[in-house]
Amino acid sequence: MTNPILVDYLRWIVLAPLLGAAINGLAGAWLQKRVGRHAVTAVALLPIGIAFALAVKGFLQLLSIEPEQRFLLDSVSKWMHIGHLKVDMAFWLDPLSSMMTLVITGIGGLIHLYSVGYMSEEPSYWRYFTYLNLFTAAMLTLVLGDSLLTMFVGWEGVGLCSYALIGFWHREWANASAGSKAFITNRVGDFGFVLGMFGLFWALDRTGQGTVVFRELAQRVHLLDGQTIAGLAAATFVTLMMFVGATGKSAQIPLYVWLPDAMAGPTPVSALIHAATMVTAGVYMICRLNFLFDMAPTTLHVVAAIGTLTAFFAATIGVAQWDIKKVLAYSTVSQLGFMFIAMGVGAYTTGVFHLFTHAFFKACLFLGSGSVIHALHHEQDMRHMGGLKKYMPITFWTFLLSTLALCGIPPFAGFFSKDEILWKAFSSPLGSPVLWAIGTLTAGFTAFYMFRQVFLVFYGEYRGSPGGHGHGHDDHGDDHGHATTAHDDGHGHGGHHGDPHESPALMTIPLVILALGAVLTGFLNVPGALGGHHVFDQWLAPVIAKAAHGEGHGAHGAPAAVARGHGVEAAVEHEAKVLEHDLETVEHDVEDATWEYLLMAVSVTVAFGGILLAWLMYRRKSLDPSTFSEAWSGGPYRAVYNKYWIDELYDATVIRGTLALSNLLATFDRVVVDGIVNGAGWVVRQVSALEGAFDRGVVDGLVNLVGSTSLALGNRARALQTGHIYSYLYAIVIGVVVVMFARLL
């Protein structure tokens, strides 16, 4: 990598939303009361606009330079320069962080706009926007930070904001619990992240080159060759630990449990944080460290396996949910699994491309569900919806387009990104047909549960009470104390109109823009087999280590790792296979294209199959879903409906185990450790009493102290009267002052 171009505006991408958060945080309540909500709105939205403008500026500047030189750096100040550690508060913009910055400020800006409408009746309006701005600043720090440590600032910062926003309606105990759960689960991941970082730093430091700065890491990772940590190859240990961090933030098995609960937050938050941006941090991090993951084929296998499992299991759970947001939440977990499959087979840009398209259509879906929830006064149960198509046409059409994108129907965005992942899972030397098969099956599930949702929500007859008041989990009106008045107004308002109604323009405009993204963004990365040029992949190419990247297949991590003398036998074996495969792929390029068409056809057919099944069950109703749920009620259905009892399992083992240990140690502390102390005290007291009886006349310094102690113990009430204090005090003060000052002055 060449020398960075130094700039000084990147910091404002982060600082602008941070300032917005600071102003609204300190003066928002006052502004809202004295000046009005629009003042809070202005303070919150203006910085996002500035950040977006600067993100565009950065993007254009990158475009204007040679691909290999695309690297801007804004070093603000030194942060930690201690020993061998040198970390600055510095932000960098390369093709990857530029893409992420555009998504965060662009989609984030739309969601801010939407929130103005969605939260218009919220009494703590200012607090909401404070958190939202703070989140944006943290997320931007995560992607713009030029070292693992600055990234970690954003990494934990988004966790904090997620905590605050999940528990935004904190009077509801369940919301507060969901927030704590999210933060603590994420902390488990963070624990892995920091250990990976420490291991990496010291392994490099052994060669005199310790660093956590990305651009230096990229140049120095080869120094990890031949080093081991905890019995594993250093690169394997580090990447496994980092991946633990990724499973926390990106809600993968085994740490995904917090994300469905996170739906307790306001719906725009679910769209921004728990779908479009924060949860993709793990994917971003792996792509950022692709040169490191390339060295660790073992880790890549783990990543692919976890991704596949998560994608599949989350999709099966999504099939049986009734809460409109929960379906989308499990869908998000599942789609993140797809991204990790891509990472695990070394197709980093493909995974990031899915991150990109997913941000559009999933944000649109969440905002669409928010629009529905808003119209139905916080009803979230799909059994009380139906027929909304005619009441909310814009919401319906945008929701439908995004659903098609999510299901991977051509030519919508998800088709290009998801199909590319499936293709790479099949064709990459690190992939296998098994990954492809499970992925394709999952795609079928996805199409089924998404169209189940579309039919339940938008088709048929409206099953809610007109102007009715919901029973959903987002139902905060009742318990929100000072919110009560405002929400009563809201409900009254709904009652006047009777039927559900389309949301205001502030909410529908973002929906339309995002839906356009869901339709169009796929064309950014049309594969060669379909006559495209992989524009998106080419944009990211400078970020990906040379060894790792090839068109579709070919070269990737494993040979690099082995060539560097990695010494892991499995990797050697792997290399042999890979080389063999490389030769084959060169020979059978044409054949590959045929395969690609074939697999594409299969996955699209499977998706349509899912849609058809949903149509038969929930639209035409020629198939009764309850026959399935009843037929399987003893087994699979109950398991899926209860989310495989994973929450219960964690509660029974990890949480109860920790609490039991904690109680045990606290009791040990009180009874044993303190017991010994009190026992010793008792013995001293007895001895000193005896001594006192036999030897009252003997007084020296030490005995005096013991004596005064026993006196104090014996005559507690009298010994510590304030009246006596003055004599002690005079003695101390005068004694010390006289003795010492006399010498000094």
Binding site: V153, A176, F183, A666, T709, M740, L745
Partner: protein, 508 residues
């Protein structure tokens, strides 16, 4: 007149105590304002020292050396280096905050503030003293006011707590006294001069190093407090009035770790190397995890924070044990950061105790809806204590753990698991006290008032600034600490102990 600001900082509070004793007993407000007036100059001097401190040298600065008891070669010898300057700053900062936090004391305020000022003087003296005897005198002087402040102004079991504190510390003092005298008589001519004692480090035999190190260590470990000498702390905290808890956790605990770095490290480097693994790294790790787990089980909010102090002081031990630049800088930064963060925590517990007259975690609920400004401060302090990046404690904890990894990766993994435990007990407490439905009983509690906010603002600013720009402190301490660390490592090399230490380290 003495020109050394350190001398002023030590003796002005004492003078203040004397002045307060001469004031009329019933004029409470005059007493309070006088106490405040005698803590402010030290703060101003501390700011001047912060500005003027030479960050490029490991030498002692602001030195005054006057014979005190010439027949025993005892001197009034004060001065500060990068290690002590942070502690002097911390003490000078916390003192006026504690006076403000004591504003509502109405039981014999005259005696209270006089004792308080004596306490401040003694602590300042400990951090400035470079003569071991002087150090010891201040160490002991600190004991008495603390004993009375807990024993008279404390809660229901105050006398038990005060005596426990007193006895524990006395045991430590006795051991310290023995080691001090041994060092004194070992040198010829006899001296208590800490710098001279350190220069003579190569003359101490291996056995001597071990014994003296252990004796000193126990004396200091009680103050930290390190397991199993820690049980005085929760009791003392629960019974102590708010301001005394603040000073106890904010400053007094640091005397323990400060003592190890000031005395054990430079004077007995071989002993330091010998015991670094078991008594600093392993015990520090145990402190971190044990403190966190015990905190989780507490029902009293103040006790929870007391145990969190035990946990957070474990980081200091772990960091200094690492014998790396990162770890030792992190340890001293953690001493400073813990001082500010935990001071905030205890001040905030005091706020709620003053209003509800209890601290039972399960006895509140939904305070965020009743006292929103107060809860915002609690959130800041809690997340700072959790080591959230962007706030001060994150920097020190990361430096400590990073440094620790180099020689003790396994222990580091155990210690780092506390990031999960800490988040667990902090958020669990946060949820029970502040979130959920508001408790009907407390709907009328007034929010935090201006005086209370005034005590928190300086700490809050420091917590944020040091999270963003830690070099504000790191620059002060780095030169001295690298010198100190180098001393220990060099002595190890000289004694050929490095091989054994290294193999010991590698084995772990």
């Amino acid at each position: 007149m003495p020109t050394n600001p350190l001398t002023w900082m030590i003796f002005l509070p004492l003078l203040g105590a004397a002045v307060i004793l001469c004031l009329p007993r019933d004029n409470h407000s005059l007493v309070k304002w006088t106490a405040l007036a005698f803590t402010i100059p030290a703060l101003l001097l501390a700011i001047a020292i912060y500005q003027g401190f030479d960050r490029t040298t490991a030498q002692m600065q602001y030195v005054t050396k006057i014979p005190w008891i010439p027949s025993f070669n005892i001197e009034y010898f004060v001065g500060i280096d990068g290690l002590s300057v942070t502690m002097v700053l911390l003490t000078a900062l916390i003192a006026p905050i504690c006076v403000l936090a004591s504003w509502e004391i109405d039981k014999a305020p005259k005696a209270y503030f006089a004792l308080f000022l004596v306490l401040i003087a003694a602590m300042m003296g400990v951090f400035c003293a470079l003569d071991f005897f002087l150090f010891f005198v201040f160490w002991e002087v600190m004991l008495l006011p603390m004993y009375f402040l807990i024993g008279i102004w404390g809660g229901p079991r105050r006398e038990y707590a005060a005596i426990k504190f007193f006895l524990y510390t006395m045991v430590g003092s006795v051991l310290m006294l023995i080691a001090m005298l041994a060092l004194y008589f070992h040198n010829d001519p006899h001296t208590f001069d800490l710098l001279k004692l350190a220069e003579a480090r190569s003359t101490y035999s291996s056995t001597f190093q071990s014994l003296a190190w252990l004796a000193l260590f126990v004396g200091f470990a009680i103050k930290i407090p390190a397991f199993p000498f820690h049980t005085w702390l929760p009791d003392a905290h629960v019974e102590a009035p708010t301001a005394i808890s603040v000073i106890l956790a904010g400053v007094l605990l640091k005397m323990g770790t400060y003592g190890i770095l000031r005395v054990n490290f430079p004077i007995l480097p071989e002993g330091t190397l010998r015991y670094a693994f078991w008594l600093l790294a392993a015990l520090g790790t145990w402190n971190i995890v044990y403190g966190a787990l015990c905190a989780m089980a507490q029902k009293d909010l103040k006790k929870l924070i007391a145990y969190s102090s035990i946990s957070h002081m474990g980081y200091v031990m772990f960091g200094m044990a690492s014998l790396t630049a990162e770890g030792i800088d992190g340890a001293v930064l953690q001493m400073f950061n813990h001082g500010t963060v935990t001071a905030m925590l205890f001040l905030l517990v005091g706020v709620i105790y003053d209003r509800a007259h209890h601290r039972n975690i399960d006895g509140f609920g939904g305070l965020a809806s009743i006292m929103p400004v107060y809860t915002a401060w609690v959130a800041l302090a809690f997340f700072a204590a959790m080591g959230l990046p962007g706030l001060s404690a994150f920097i020190s904890e990361v430096l400590v753990l990073l440094g620790g990894w180099r020689n003790y990766p396994g222990l580091t993994a155990v210690a780092a698991s506390a990031v999960v435990l800490t988040a667990g007990y902090m958020l669990w407490a946060m949820q029970r006290v502040y979130l959920g439905k508001p408790n009907e009983k407390y709907l009328s509690l007034p929010d935090i008032n201006r005086r209370e906010i005034a005590t928190l603002v300086p700490l809050g600013i420091i917590v944020i600034v040091l999270g963003v720009y830690p070099h504000a402190i790191l620059d002060l301490i780095d030169t001295s600490l690298q010198h100190l660390n180098g001393t220990v490592l060099a002595a190890g090399k000289a004694a050929g102990a490095v091989a054994s230490a290294a193999s010991g380290v590698a084995a772990h």
